[in-house]
């Protein structure tokens, strides 16, 4: 076998091996064996080429933009926090959390009062968050007039539950006041935000429970 014949077949046998004649030529021909050694060495070096370069940050920015435009993503909430801290904004979480919670609580109260026959348009007269927060806790740790009304209703319907409701309302109002105070001191306090949100949700649940108890 000549070198020309061997090298013509080489592309098809380099990985799998050749027939007896080709193998024999490889064993005996230093030129062809050097060639094969070089080609295999190049292939081995290529395997070791680890990806080293990152694309520029603009690539992710463009991807992210497209994902949002196509509606493929929803903003993830950070682990352990329900709300992302934001830069100072008129409608940042510090404002929206208590507003949302008050709306929920007011809606619960609206349902409750409708069921008891009282007229009260609570949903479009939600007090300012600051006002709610400041009036949330009375001298005795009791809430505002709505809390009193809830307790009166519970007393009328289930007297044995009144003390439990009163105690729970005191606690949740205290939690609201503490969280609000922390947030006033440090608007970026994510834990305080979360505590405030939790506290308002608990208060909403208490109202819900009270209204559901008063259902016939």
């Amino acid at each position: 076998m000549t070198c020309a014949e061997f090298q013509k077949a080489l592309p098809y046998i380099i990985e799998t091996g050749g027939n007896a004649e080709q193998e024999e030529h490889l064993r005996t021909c230093t030129k062809c064996s050097d060639l094969v050694a070089d080609l295999k060495y190049i292939a081995e070096c290529a395997k070791l080429l680890v990806p080293m370069m990152d694309p520029s940050p603009r690539v992710w920015d463009e991807i992210n933009k497209s994902l949002e435009q196509e509606g493929l993503v929803r903003k993830a909430t950070p682990r352990g926090r329900l709300l992302e801290p934001t830069t100072a904004s008129r409608w940042g979480p510090r404002r929206l959390v208590p507003v949302a919670a008050v709306v929920l609580a007011a809606l619960a109260l609206f349902v409750y009062r409708n069921q008891t026959g009282e007229k009260h348009v609570a949903s479009n007269q939600a007090p300012e968050p600051a006002a709610v927060a400041s009036s949330a806790v009375s001298v005795h740790g009791m809430s505002d007039a709505d809390d009193q009304q809830v307790l009166q209703q519970v007393s009328a319907q289930s007297p044995s539950m009144r003390d439990a409701y009163e105690s729970n309302l005191k606690q949740v109002n205290s939690d609201i006041a503490d969280a609000q105070k922390s947030l006033d001191q440090n608007p970026d306090d994510a834990d305080a935000e979360q505590s405030l949100r939790d506290a308002y949700e608990q208060k909403t649940m208490l109202y819900d429970m009270a209204t559901s108890r008063s259902l016939p």
Partner: protein, 207 residues
């Protein structure tokens, strides 16, 4: 295809989220933005390297990386886990690059393999004996040599020798025969051998 290089190290990055890659994938299927980003972080380097090596152009490679990940996110809900996620993504990226090259009209592989010497082909190495290359190739010179390969040779070389695709897979992707794939790969390696020997000779002259 061989396992992804550096995969174990990169997998640690999802641990910052307290998630395995599988969990991140599941959450990404439901539109979790953080998990999208985590998956991008895990795989961007390999996808970008693939695109860069196949195109030889940074701007094109970035555009193609972007397109590959966008297609990934659009299709991620269909990922069933029958293959490794990295394999699935990698194949998607390869298809994105090949589609791009086809649109550009660049030659990928000669559909009619000719046994006549090509003008741009490497010199036939019939009788000459040079010193062997073993031990003389460094990473930088090899990368440069790959960059200077003709596009058709470069694509096959990148897919087979760097990315680990088999000839039957390359043939399917490129729409050519297995024999054609082997032939083009051989030409690529021969061309690289010439380039690397020139580089070594130049280096020796300077010293």
């Amino acid at each position: 295809m061989r396992p992804e290089k550096g995969e174990l190290t990169q997998a640690k990055k999802t641990s910052a989220l307290g998630l395995s890659e599988a969990e991140a994938i599941e959450r990404a299927k439901h539109g979790d933005a953080e998990c999208f980003e985590a998956l991008y972080g895990l795989h961007k380097r390999r996808v970008y390297s693939l695109c860069l090596r196949m195109t030889g152009n940074t701007a094109e490679a970035e555009d193609l990386t972007q397109e590959a990940f966008l297609q990934l996110y659009r299709k991620i809900a269909t990922f069933r886990g029958e293959s490794a996620f990295s394999t699935w993504l990698h194949r998607l990226a390869v298809n994105v690059v090949l589609m791009h090259l086809r649109k550009k009209g660049l030659p990928e592989v000669s559909l009619e393999e000719s046994m006549e010497p090509q003008e741009d082909g490497p010199k036939k190495d019939i009788g000459a004996r040079d010193n062997v290359l073993a031990g003389s190739i460094d990473r930088v010179n090899l990368e440069r040599a790959i960059e200077s390969l003709p596009p058709g040779y470069r694509i096959i070389f990148v897919l087979h020798d760097i990315e680990g695709y088999e000839h039957n897979e390359i043939a399917e992707m490129m729409g050519c025969s297995i024999g054609n794939s082997k032939s083009q790969l051989h030409k690529a390696r021969m061309k690289l051998r010439d380039l690397l020997k020139i580089t070594r000779a130049e280096k020796a002259t300077r010293q």
